[in-house]
């Protein structure tokens, strides 16, 4: 039987506010345990939550970016359950009335087509703390630094039909939230966490199959592998006459498998009800206008602009707008170098090549955008040739010094003095009398190819510094 996969994603995006969603404590990552938890985060008797406006503005930005309805009135609700890293015994979330309603994003399929994926809703909530099971023999340690960190939970429609589509969608959401600057996108630190609802059904069947929820997917690779595993598992169960059980399953990256965490029967009744400590969140048009006034350019718009403004190919524009960091870097290079196409080539070929080889992210590049721009500028203004530039690039990568300093110190400046070039050309011609004669006797169609030999010799003699254009012209004239 042929099976169709149906996937919906829930993505928890940690928002970039300085302080927590309901308290003034810092959200900085990596502090000593329990040093960034105030009385509110600790759920002390008598404390009350006060909503962080910054979190609301970030949710509004996201909703606007996915063309969703922003709820003029949304309600915070309590999700009640007991767990030691949940200090109040409930999580403040949004349930029936979320701040962001139905929206959508577009993903690029492998066949080059674009597919629209529905976003059901996005709601604001607070994160829980962390339980530390290691290092405390016979005990569990509790770190509440993360408790109260603002999250935006983004829920997709079950519109995704393969693990690849799920990854493309997750990457698109990642791209949008990092472009907007509402999330740092750091998956290692848990700023972007994904759960997948997965089911299969016979092709042609309208009704959804029973789904399982996959947890603990903290990279795009794990997302893809977990879904692939789970789809296969479900098909195996069904084809051997069994039934899929609705349950939560944990992905184990070491074993590359999913295993049951809890079934529906074991699931909590969260007893949601509106949080009486917080009034309904009412947003007016002015608040939305003010929030989106300075909305950063979104990936799609920036890609189109790169094509138009810089004359880049669709492919180059796509690569250079993949992340906001890349696009910002590129524009900073262009601002210094002037030559947009040359800048694109240098960034995509030399810089990305070197980063790849070193296993570094763009943010970790030893060469800043300004420094790369200065190098590209020296190519564009004929100070050095492209070939010399590669040597300079390597030196910059190693030493962190500027292109101009390296060019100066090593005397790499291109020879453009025609007298000096002519002297070298004459020398080369004199040393290669036989080749000169061969050239002159050759079929004119073959001559351009043969010219390359003389150019090579001249460049070699000038240690690559002679201006290749001048060398070519001069040689052609002298060999006539």
């Amino acid at each position: 039987m042929a099976w169709e996969t149906v996937i919906g994603l829930e993505i928890h995006v940690q928002l970039t506010t300085q302080s927590k969603i309901f308290s003034g404590a810092s959200t900085r990552f990596g502090a000593e345990p329990n040093t960034q938890a105030c009385l509110v985060d600790l759920g002390f008797p008598g404390v009350l939550p006060v909503l962080n406006e910054g979190a609301v503005r970030r949710a509004v930005l996201f909703g606007t970016a996915i063309e969703a309805e922003i709820a003029r009135r949304s309600v915070f609700a309590r999700k009640n359950y007991f767990y030691p890293d949940l200090p109040k015994g409930y999580q403040i979330s949004q349930y029936e009335l979320p701040i962001v309603g139905r929206g959508h994003v577009e993903i690029l399929l492998e066949n080059g087509e674009r597919k629209r994926i529905g976003v059901t809703r996005a709601h604001l909530e607070e994160d829980a703390g962390k339980s530390l099971h290691e290092d405390f023999h016979g005990y569990t340690g509790i770190d509440l630094n993360r408790a109260g960190t603002p999250l935006l939970e983004i829920v997709s429609e079950p519109d995704l039909r393969s693990a690849r589509e799920a990854v493309a969608y997750a990457k698109k959401i990642h791209q949008i939230v990092t472009y907007l600057g509402i999330c740092d996108g750091n998956m290692q630190e848990g700023s972007f966490r994904m759960d997948a609802n997965v089911s299969v059904r016979p092709v042609g069947q309208e009704e959804f199959g029973t789904r399982t929820e996959l947890k603990n997917l903290n990279s795009f690779r794990f997302l893809e592998r977990a879904i692939d595993f789970e789809v296969e598992r479900q098909i195996d169960v069904l084809e051997s006459g069994g039934e899929v059980v609705q349950e939560t399953r944990l992905y184990d990256p070491q074993k590359d498998e999913t295993r049951s965490m809890r079934t529906k029967e074991e699931a909590n009744d969260y007893r949601y009800f509106p949080d009486p400590d917080l009034l309904p969140l009412v947003i007016d048009d002015a608040f939305i206008e003010e929030t989106v006034r300075d909305m950063p350019e979104l990936p799609e718009a920036r890609r189109r602009r790169f094509e138009e403004q810089y004359g880049l190919s669709a492919y180059d524009a796509d690569v250079l707008t993949a992340t906001r960091a890349a696009a910002d870097y590129y524009e900073a290079v262009v601002a210094v170098a002037g030559d947009a196409k040359l800048a694109a080539n240098w960034m995509m070929v030399e810089l990305y090549g070197a980063l790849n080889k070193a296993g570094l992210e763009l943010a970790e590049s030893p060469i800043s955008a300004k420094a790369l721009g200065e190098l590209v500028l020296r190519i564009a203004d004929d100070t050095i040739s492209g070939k010399i530039a590669k040597t300079v690039f390597e030196e910059m990568w190693q030493s962190g010094r500027s292109a101009d300093a390296i060019i100066d110190e090593k005397g790499l400046k291109q020879i453009t003095d025609s007298g000096a070039i002519e002297a070298i050309v004459d020398e080369v011609l004199a040393e290669n009398a036989q080749q000169v004669e061969n050239y002159r006797n050759a079929d004119p169609k073959k001559q351009p190819k043969m010219l390359g030999f003389f150019v090579g010799q001249v460049m070699k003699k000038s240690q690559g510094k002679a201006n290749p254009k001048q060398v070519n012209e001069l040689l052609r004239k002298k060999l006539e």
Partner: protein, 487 residues
């Protein structure tokens, strides 16, 4: 000169300012009275005498420098539901018997800033759940008018202490009548402000959408002085209202002639003790003598207020009390086997029977499949009740009725019958559901025991409530009567 403990707050303030006595003397006087009389009443959970004398000394310095205000140097007692920095804040529960708060509630902070001296923390029903002060982990409070009788609850310690002149003033909280009912049963004046008028920051939550702090003292004038300090917007409480505080002292002196007061028909029916009814009737005659116009009004849905309250309040409580899990503070059982054992035994040991009953009721009401039928329905009833009040306020400036259907009952009389206990708040609960301000003040006694006259105001109309109560108290001496043995 009358005894210090018989003086009103205004008189005490004047005496302190004039140097007739110092705050330390005044504080020592009350601490001595507490030592003498509280063993019979049990109105205090904690007497913070050393801290009180330190605060009194500081108040005296302020007064000497001429930096004192009208309340500087005057002692008071806080209900043990308010967090007090460095002082045990138990909420009447074993669960918090070991809890020393690391911060002050806004109410505590404001009254301390005004220079008031905290004598200690008042006994109360556990987590404010009760109408007799019998659910306290620290034992029941006794009514100074008859120590075999309850003081009412949940602010029973505050009411008894003020009635017995162990403190000139107290704070209380009112979720379903917890200021007004004990004020009525102990013969003092207590005001529950409009929901949102006083900050809830640092006030341990019972039912967040109903809880409101207010003053408890012997007269409306005293309450006006206290409320002037307690009221106001607090950015730490999202449900507090950002609106200027009225001048309650100026309001006291407004004329009341021609004021229309609605007599709530439903509060005078079956279940009202005839002696209490007669007492309220007497108070109404005096009001008419002051030129007040009495009109009959109806709150047709008020009979639904008790059932609606006993869904909403326990539902919120079941969630509010989830934080008492033995993990971070409060009672933790000995040698827990595992997490579940830690939760179960810590909570089983830490909470008393009434609190457990309400947690169970509330958890049930919020459960999947019951939420719509109970919680949502109860919230709709609140809307209907609020509409009843709006209609009534179309006909009257203030409303009137008894605060409690009967005088103080005997200890243990209702302990085995929670529903009968719940019905002692039948006249007060609707006010909380609607979020309105209301006060209880002494009416003539019945059966030798205090009776509370309840006045209900429109939203933020505390000034007018205090105005009428003050004018009535100028014309009568019901509020000045002191229980025998405590003069």
């Amino acid at each position: 000169m009358s005894e210090l403990h018989q003086k009103s707050l205004r008189e005490l303030g004047e005496g302190l300012a004039a140097g007739a006595f110092s705050s330390v003397e005044l504080t020592e006087h009350f601490l001595q009275r507490i030592r003498n009389h509280d063993p019979a009443l049990n109105s205090f959970i904690t007497v913070s005498d050393r801290e009180a004398l330190r605060q009194a000394g500081a108040a005296d310095e302020r007064i000497q420098k001429g930096e004192g205000g009208p309340l500087t140097g005057i002692p008071l007692i806080h209900k043990d539901i308010f967090c007090t920095h460095g002082v045990k804040t138990s909420c009447g529960s074993r669960m918090l018997d070991n809890f020393i708060s690391p911060y002050d509630a806004t109410v505590v902070e404001k009254l301390a800033d005004a220079g008031m001296v905290m004598l200690g923390k008042a006994n109360m029903d556990e987590f404010a759940m009760g109408s007799s002060n019998e659910t306290s982990y620290y034992g029941p409070v006794r009514n100074p008018w008859d120590t075999e009788r309850v003081p009412g609850g949940s602010s029973g310690g505050s009411a008894a202490a003020v009635a017995a002149r162990l403190a000139p003033a107290a704070t209380g909280t009112d979720t379903g009548g917890s200021i007004r009912q004990p004020a009525a049963l102990c013969g003092i004046t207590g005001l529950k402000p409009t929901y949102g008028r006083v900050s809830r920051w640092g006030m341990i939550a019972f039912a967040s959408s109903l809880d409101q702090a207010g003053p408890m003292a012997r007269s409306a004038e005293d309450c006006a002085l206290l409320l002037s300090v307690m009221a106001g917007f607090d950015e730490r409480d999202s449900t507090s209202v950002d609106r200027p505080v009225d001048d309650y002292l100026a309001a006291l002196e407004q004329p009341v002639k021609g004021l229309r007061v609605g007599v709530v028909k439903e509060f005078f029916g079956e279940g009202l003790d005839s002696g209490v009814g007669a007492s309220i009737g007497e108070a109404m005659k005096v009001l008419e003598g002051l030129g007040v116009e009495l009109v009959e009004v109806s709150l047709p849905h008020s009979r639904y207020s008790v059932p609606a309250y006993y869904v909403v309040a326990p539902a919120e409580a079941s969630s509010n009390l989830a934080r008492y899990d033995g993990v971070r503070f409060g009672h933790r059982c000995e040698d827990p086997k595992d997490l579940e054992d830690l939760y179960k035994r810590s909570r089983a040991e830490g909470f008393g029977a009434e609190v457990k009953r309400r947690i169970m009721i509330g958890t049930y009401a919020l459960s999947a499949g019951y939420y719509d039928a109970y919680y949502l329905k109860a919230q709709k009833v609140r809307q209907v009740i609020a509409q009843d009040f709006r209609n009534a306020f179309d006909q009257a400036d203030l409303l009137l009725g008894p605060a409690s259907p009967e005088v103080a009952f005997r200890l243990g009389e209702k302990s085995d019958d929670p529903v009968s206990m719940y019905l002692s708040d039948i006249y007060t609960i609707a006010v909380n559901l609607a979020g309105l301000p209301a006060l209880s003040m002494p009416a003539p006694r019945a059966h030798g025991l205090p009776v509370g006259l309840q006045l209900i105001g429109n939203y933020f109309d505390e000034g007018r409530l205090l105005n009428l109560a003050h004018q009535l108290q100028l014309a009568t001496d019901w509020h000045l009567q002191t229980p025998e043995g405590f003069e």
